[in-house]
Symmetry: C2
Subunit: 196 residues, 2 copies
Amino acid sequence: MMHHSFELILANIGRHISLTAEESSYFTQLLRPGHYARRELLLMEGAVCTDFTFIVSGCMKSYLLDQQQKEHILTFAAPDWWIADINSFITGNPGNLFIQAISETHTLALSRRNQEILLREIPKFERCFRILTERAFAASLQRNIDAMSLSALERFEKFRLQYPYLLSLLSDQEIASYIGVTPSFFSRMLKKHHLK
Amino acid sequence: MMHHSFELILANIGRHISLTAEESSYFTQLLRPGHYARRELLLMEGAVCTDFTFIVSGCMKSYLLDQQQKEHILTFAAPDWWIADINSFITGNPGNLFIQAISETHTLALSRRNQEILLREIPKFERCFRILTERAFAASLQRNIDAMSLSALERFEKFRLQYPYLLSLLSDQEIASYIGVTPSFFSRMLKKHHLK
DNA sequence: CCTGCAACTTGACCTTGGTCAAGAACTCCA
DNA sequence: TGGAGTTCTTGACCAAGGTCAAGTTGCAGG
């Protein structure tokens, strides 16, 4: 069963580079399994994000609180995705994001220190992380584009087409926060367009 | 003088990895110098972005036109920065961004093909591009956060503090587009707050 | 030096989405 | 199974920022 829990992450990595059996086990032994209850925090504002975290099951979100303590969701992470406060992770400085479990979640964490060891011992992981980062970067740019050029309704339509799986896991508030509107406006919008 | 034109890019790379003299010259010979007049396009919507482009002097912007043909600026690139339509570059599909020179600009282009050769011949460049991408990714996430949690005025204040150098090169329309407001609102905002 | 276009400004009005507060509807355990 | 907290909905009102069009200013090229 130990073996079983690494299947998803090895498949994830295997999409970008191929590993021998030894390399795979070297890699997996650098991972730290974690378990979070619904609403449990993985990271708090002001803490240094020391881990790059892979979601095995469940779902997490990263968000920040603005000056008025309003929550703004930056990303969701479903199974087979990674989550971190990248800015804090790469600089080593305290971050301003919270990361929280939306439902009961199993994770595998790769610490900064272990990532360095991994990259030194198996340099082809550089390639893997480059590709993962490129994709996440492209997704983030697209979100900037959408925020600038689409209406709230269009952003929601796009979200539901792109992440139908997440829709069922999230509260309306969370979807509203992600697309960048208030819960009350979101509720009105759904009603007006008979989307619920 | 050939040598001189590579100093900036070698310093840029040198911030992340160290290269021998041979590696440096292997790298620079994979670069294609380019020159663009003010307003000249480096990339058009619908074209495949085949190059990762380094700005030696001058300034460029990437932008898209929305359904109503309104321009939205995604990024600026001053000297010592890279610019590309990352999504098109990594997928090889036609992109939806334009890249255009704001002033007369000298560039060094690394094509996708040459990047592959470079990564194969000198694998430590994987690390370099991973780090460059991570930083660009962190900047993009921060922009998402700012778009969600700051007012137009706050976004402008942040922009002028962060990129004072760009302020002098850009028209008000371009700044307005980048911070995500119309030129007329931007003009009113400056006046209201005595910012000009 | 002048002209013609591009950039900026401004007025009047409009739209999208926010605020605050109160009520209705879930749910999750004890 | 029955509260106690969430979450969702809704009304009345508000504010940030957009639209359109008409000036004005500025400046680059002939």
